[in-house]
């Protein structure tokens, strides 16, 4: 690939509140890990890498009023983003041209864990309810600086920020954006400190990655952002790159929900893919910033992966986690900034506290070494085997000569994208299209999904650690895969607003009521958002690309966008895109109290939808599918916008239709989220009137309910209408408009949280 420029960076961690302090600490070997000071927890026995500022001090630095609603993850994110934007010379007026992709898993949990009992039983602190989810956290960070063109949130546990880098890079390569600010933020929380403790992987001593005596990790916190920019844009703005992003890889270990495979399959594939994309040889790598957590399992697995890829000649390796602690979701971008500093200043960061080689392990760098570096690999691996690796290069590396293969896989010449299958579990008959003729109607405000028997999809022993959301995801995915006629897919991409909320609640409940001891690891391991996507990979033995998006009502749409970009550019030929959310009685009432659920007459539900998409790849005319499988329809246009003004939106609609060779006249129906909860239907109708005139409007949420990922159900419903060539009368907003007209072209308009809008064009 043609390298992408990195024109700015910012970082906050236990070793410094900016790049200069960070560089000094890395060069002098000063660790930031020590006794716990800021987090309120009983577990003082574990060393941690805390950012050396209170929330109040951070608010003061940022000029934020004391009474403002903030979370620690958001505040650290703002500090790092401020440095990155300043570094790249991005002033507020430029932001409407800039994308923002952030990674987090903790989100607002630091506040939710303090106020959980209030959330349940009183009105106190209810304004923090809306700050709980990952997407709110990203928006809080971004909105401090202005209005970005687009934003979304990756949540793949400890590789979240690395995957944010990868999405940003894909967007630039596909010409979707010129500048994307990418990275992640994560504060320490009692929730995950206790979670890691329940997994018995915290070391009460300073962590010693790759050492024979290693006994677990120390947790840390922090944030970092990189400014990714196309060469043309940087030239236009007159800014110089600090380093280059020349490759990246994402693969799934598909082995176990918390453990890495003994041979490091996922890690091996991720690093290999990064090298392949960069078109460089293993021998050209000068340094690897390892994931190196210090757990016996990770370091064994990662050593194997490095040995498989590099053979006898493993380049210098170190884990910088003894400096910062494991900064979980933020580690991918924090360590990418460390790698950039190493490239810029020519040194190898050391692996603190190492003294004895482990069996079959690598020997890390322990002596401060000055060395000119050309190419650096930076690894970040997450629970569930969400393994990613990014390849960063020095600006001094001569640019490869532009040849015909240079932009292979990144051309914008679009392939045709087919929807091969779509399956749902929701308020309607599960795994069936019975709703088209016999829809089930509800009157209760909150309704649980109708579940099929899961025995066919998961064995009882597998089911022991699978909440409802996981069983539904596995069932819809396996059914969708079967119906697609494909044996496997190249990517599994999931959207979820709240993830496994049932297990999150069980863990929070025990933490709040019984205290910080004897907590169940089973609840914790199912609380991360990426459990869904990675479990589908484990269940379908899929080592391909794997990612999870958690950004409010565009969680599914963000997953779809990722698939759309990669399918169009030929990077993948098929994808399973899912939208999964569950709701519990307790969280229904909490979210309602927080103003995130609608009026009583509206339906709150749960959703599970899995869709298989395939591109007619650049070499073949039809998708690589079973000849008997007829695609449901085609996906011919897609875009997400953040807080667009009406004229921007109108332009976007025109452009989207134009690039599909269509005009508004060709669109038969507009699919809307009318009857949803997050906005009133009047505003929806006014907007659609302005945008689409008198086009007949369709709705689906009155039958399928509202959830953060109900737009996935909207996609499913529209696809089934195009496939069957009819629109059931029950879907018309205005019953008088119901007709037998065969739909050929449907535009989906999702704007249910009032901030983010997605446009999806489907054709028969």
């Amino acid at each position: 690939m043609k390298p992408i420029l990195i024109t700015g960076a910012g970082v906050v961690s236990a070793i410094g509140n900016n790049k200069a302090e960070t560089l000094e600490a890395l060069l002098s070997g000063r660790s930031g890990v020590g006794l716990l000071k800021y987090l309120k927890t009983e577990h003082k026995e574990f060393p941690v890498g805390e950012v050396k500022l209170t929330d109040a001090e951070m608010r003061q630095r940022l000029g934020i009023a004391d009474e403002a609603i903030t979370t620690r993850t958001a505040l650290m994110g703002m500090l790092a983003l401020e440095e990155a934007l300043h570094d790249a010379g991005l002033s507020p007026e430029l932001l409407p041209q800039v994308g923002f992709v952030s990674g987090t898993t903790v989100g607002g949990m630091d506040m939710s864990e303090q106020f959980y009992l209030d959330f349940i039983s009183s009105e106190a602190h209810k304004e923090y309810i809306a700050a709980h989810d990952c997407g709110s956290c990203s928006e809080m960070i971004a909105h401090h600086f202005g209005k970005f063109a687009f934003m979304t949130t990756l949540s793949t546990a400890c590789s979240s920020a690395a995957n944010a880098i990868i999405l940003g890079a894909n967007m630039i390569r596909c010409g979707e954006a010129d500048i994307v600010v990418v990275g992640g933020s994560e504060c320490l929380s009692k929730f995950h400190l206790n979670g890691f403790n329940s997994l018995m992987i915290l070391d009460p001593q300073p962590s010693r990655p790759f050492d024979a005596t290693r006994n677990g990790l120390n947790l840390g916190e922090g944030a970092a952002y990189l400014v990714l920019e196309s060469e043309e844009s940087a030239k236009r703005r007159g800014v110089n790159p600090q380093a280059l992003l020349s490759g990246y890889g994402n693969a799934c270990d598909a082995y176990h929900q918390t453990a890495s495979s003994p041979d490091g399959e996922g890690a091996y594939r991720a690093m290999k893919e990064a090298l392949k994309l960069a078109e460089i040889q293993p021998s050209e790598i000068d340094y690897i910033n390892a994931h190196g957590t210090g757990t016996p399992n990770n370091d064994t697995s990662e050593s194997q992966a490095m040995k498989r890829l590099f053979g006898e000649k493993v380049p210098p390796v170190s884990s910088t986690k003894p400096f910062t602690g494991h900064t979980t979701s933020a580690s991918g971008s924090i360590e990418a900034v460390f790698s950039i500093l190493a490239l810029q200043h020519g040194f190898l960061p050391i692996n603190l506290h190492w003294s004895q080689p482990m069996e079959d392990g690598i020997i890390p760098v322990t002596q401060p070494t000055r060395k000119e570096l050309r190419h650096v690999l930076c690894n970040a691996f997450g629970f569930g085997g969400n393994d990613s690796s990014v390849l960063l290069s020095s600006v001094k590396v001569p640019e490869p000569v532009e040849g015909p293969t240079q932009n292979k896989g990144a051309s914008t010449s679009s392939a045709t994208i087919y929807i091969l299958s779509a399956k749902q579990i929701s308020l309607q008959q599960p795994l069936s299209e019975a709703w088209m003729d016999e829809p089930v109607h509800y009157s209760e405000p909150f309704v649980r999904s109708i579940d099929p028997s899961f025995k066919e999809y998961v064995s009882p022993i597998e089911a022991r650690r699978m909440g409802k959301i996981l069983k539904r995801a596995v069932a819809t995915s396996k059914e969708a895969l079967r119906a697609s006629g494909l044996e496997t897919v190249d990517a599994i991409i999931t959207g979820t607003g709240y993830g496994c909320i049932e297990n999150t609640e069980l863990f929070l409940d025990a933490l709040s009521k019984e205290g910080e001891h004897l907590l169940k690891p089973t609840y914790f391991m199912q609380s991360t958002h990426n459990t869904i996507s990675s479990l589908v990979a484990i269940q379908t033995k899929n080592h391909g690309y794997n990612a999870t998006y958690s950004h409010k009502s565009i969680s599914f749409d963000s997953a779809l966008q990722d698939a759309w970009l990669q399918l169009q550019s030929g990077k993948i030929n098929s994808a399973m895109v899912g939208g999964h959310d569950e709701l519990t009685e307790t969280f229904y009432h909490i979210l309602k109290k927080g103003g995130m659920m609608g009026k009583d007459e509206e339906r709150c539900g749960e959703s599970a939808v899995s869709i298989v998409l395939a591109a007619s790849c650049h070499c073949e005319e039809e998708p690589r599918s079973h000849p008997d499988i007829q695609p449901l329809c085609k996906l011919t246009g897609f875009q997400i916008l953040h807080q667009p003004k009406m004229d921007t939106l109108m332009d976007a609609v025109t452009k989207l239709l134009h690039s599909a060779g269509k005009t508004l006249n060709d669109v038969d129906f507009i699919f809307t989220g009318i009857s949803g909860n997050y906005t009133n239907d009047e505003a929806y109708q006014q907007e659609t009137q302005t945008l689409f005139g008198d086009k007949p409007l369709l709705k689906y949420k009155h039958l399928f309910g509202e959830s953060f990922t109900s737009s996935g159900l909207g996609f499913y419903v529209a696809a089934q209408c195009l496939n069957t060539g009819r629109v059931p009368a029950s879907l018309f907003v205005n019953p008088k408009e119901a007709s037998d007209k065969q739909p050929k072209c449907i535009l989906l308009y999702n704007r249910s949280d009032g901030k983010n809008v997605s446009l999806t064009l489907l054709e028969a």
Binding site: S198, M200, A463, R464, L519, T522
Partner: protein, 85 residues
């Protein structure tokens, strides 16, 4: 001992969420991990929590579990000798 074994089986079923299983389905002499019931490292952690919660036995090192959790019978024997409640 038989009573402890039966209670332990019930507690294991609950702690590990083994839906559709009854104490009668578990052979107290069969291996809990690997070939037998097919449990893994996370289940071992749950069993550690179970032992501390119900019998006041605290294991610091998950590796200790390898011997103790060989079978329900071995586990019951260990509990009867080390329980503090």
């Amino acid at each position: 001992m038989d009573e402890l074994i039966y209670t332990l089986k019930q507690q294991i079923i609950e702690a590990l969420n083994l839906e559709d299983m009854t104490p009668e389905d578990i052979d107290e002499n069969a291996a809990l991990f690997g070939e037998g019931l097919g449990l893994d490292s996370i289940d071992a952690l749950e069993l550690i929590v179970l032992m501390e919660k119900n019998y006041g036995i605290k294991l610091q090192d998950p590796n200790q579990g390898k011997e103790i959790f060989k079978s329900v019978a071995v586990m019951a024997d260990f509990i009867s000798k080390n329980r503090t409640k």
